[in-house]
Symmetry: C2
Subunit: 193 residues, 2 copies
Amino acid sequence: MTYADFMNAPKRRDRAATRSALLDAARRRFAEHGFDGTGVREIAADAGVDATLIFRYFGSKKDLFDAALTAEVPEGLGEKDAGPVEFADALLKEVVLGDRAGDGGEHPLLLMLRSAGRPEVRARLHEEVCDRYLADMAARFDGEDAELRAELVGALLLGMGVMRAVVGSPVLPDADPEKVRARVAAMVAALET
Amino acid sequence: MTYADFMNAPKRRDRAATRSALLDAARRRFAEHGFDGTGVREIAADAGVDATLIFRYFGSKKDLFDAALTAEVPEGLGEKDAGPVEFADALLKEVVLGDRAGDGGEHPLLLMLRSAGRPEVRARLHEEVCDRYLADMAARFDGEDAELRAELVGALLLGMGVMRAVVGSPVLPDADPEKVRARVAAMVAALET
DNA sequence: GTCGTAAGTCATCGATCGATGACAAAGACT
DNA sequence: AGTCTTTGTCATCGATCGATGACTTACGAC
């Protein structure tokens, strides 16, 4: 059923592969059911190993969650001197329209939203969104209220992610990506004084 | 400590008052820690009563959660023949800028986001957002791609709520409401073909 | 005042959860 | 081949959770 299952060859012992399988299963489970809705036994079953290994390799369920989030960050987004419209477009492609077949299918940011009940997760979400994205966005706005305008762009992009990943609205996935990009660009452009 | 505590008068027996205290405590707890992060004993302790009464009055924890969400819906939002800009402004005041001192301090929609790990909550969120708000919004757009444009407005408003209630960004609460309304109006207006 | 019904409390169950330590077995190294 | 380290498994603990049923106490009808 799971990936590790049809690897039912003699079941070689491979620390790295097991760790990776656990991380992958954790990402999927956490992405779908959130932190509280996911048990370590379910993750281990998906990965095809014993639940004990989670604690051996990661220390605790929370540490596994953190590791699953920290996994990979694309990093190289947006040119340094691009305007807000181009920057928003780059973020749009990465966070909202991105495919991400590797993970649970969602951007780590949207993955965190399924666990928004945990204060630590919200703290990390706050840090990531504000320090990482909004500050960068605000720097690309000229004139007054740059922070407010950056916040609105961030809200639009985050809201689109929530619409797709949490609310489950079928509009965005079914829409023509080029039309979406054009509409979003128009909205962001409306913020340039 | 809680409301019911300084009502430490002889502790009259009042079904309606107890039910109401439980509902209120539940709203606060669920709003802050989500469904999974909240225990029935905590809710009961906040309300100053025994946890058993939750099951007697509501049946189950899940039923209490549903009752806490269904609580009160303002209903009368937006004139029937207003355009998308006016409608978005009305929603903005209700969902994002609304004070709501009565509940846990948040709109039920944002309250649900803290429990987004539960599939049933997402289903209800989907139903509420799509059928209740987006359909209404789409009807106010002329021309093609009305659904997509309504979705983008919804994403912006929902994203603003997420920014404040989940991410915890200080920008929106600190900003001048009139400036916020003006900026949002500009973004929505940019969608009118 | 008495009595019955409804409101509140107590003890406890069964399941599930994260986590631990002892044990078995496979691969590596000499 | 023999040993030792690493990898995986099993049994189980202690806490917590939602939920149930029996018991106690207050209020209101008469």
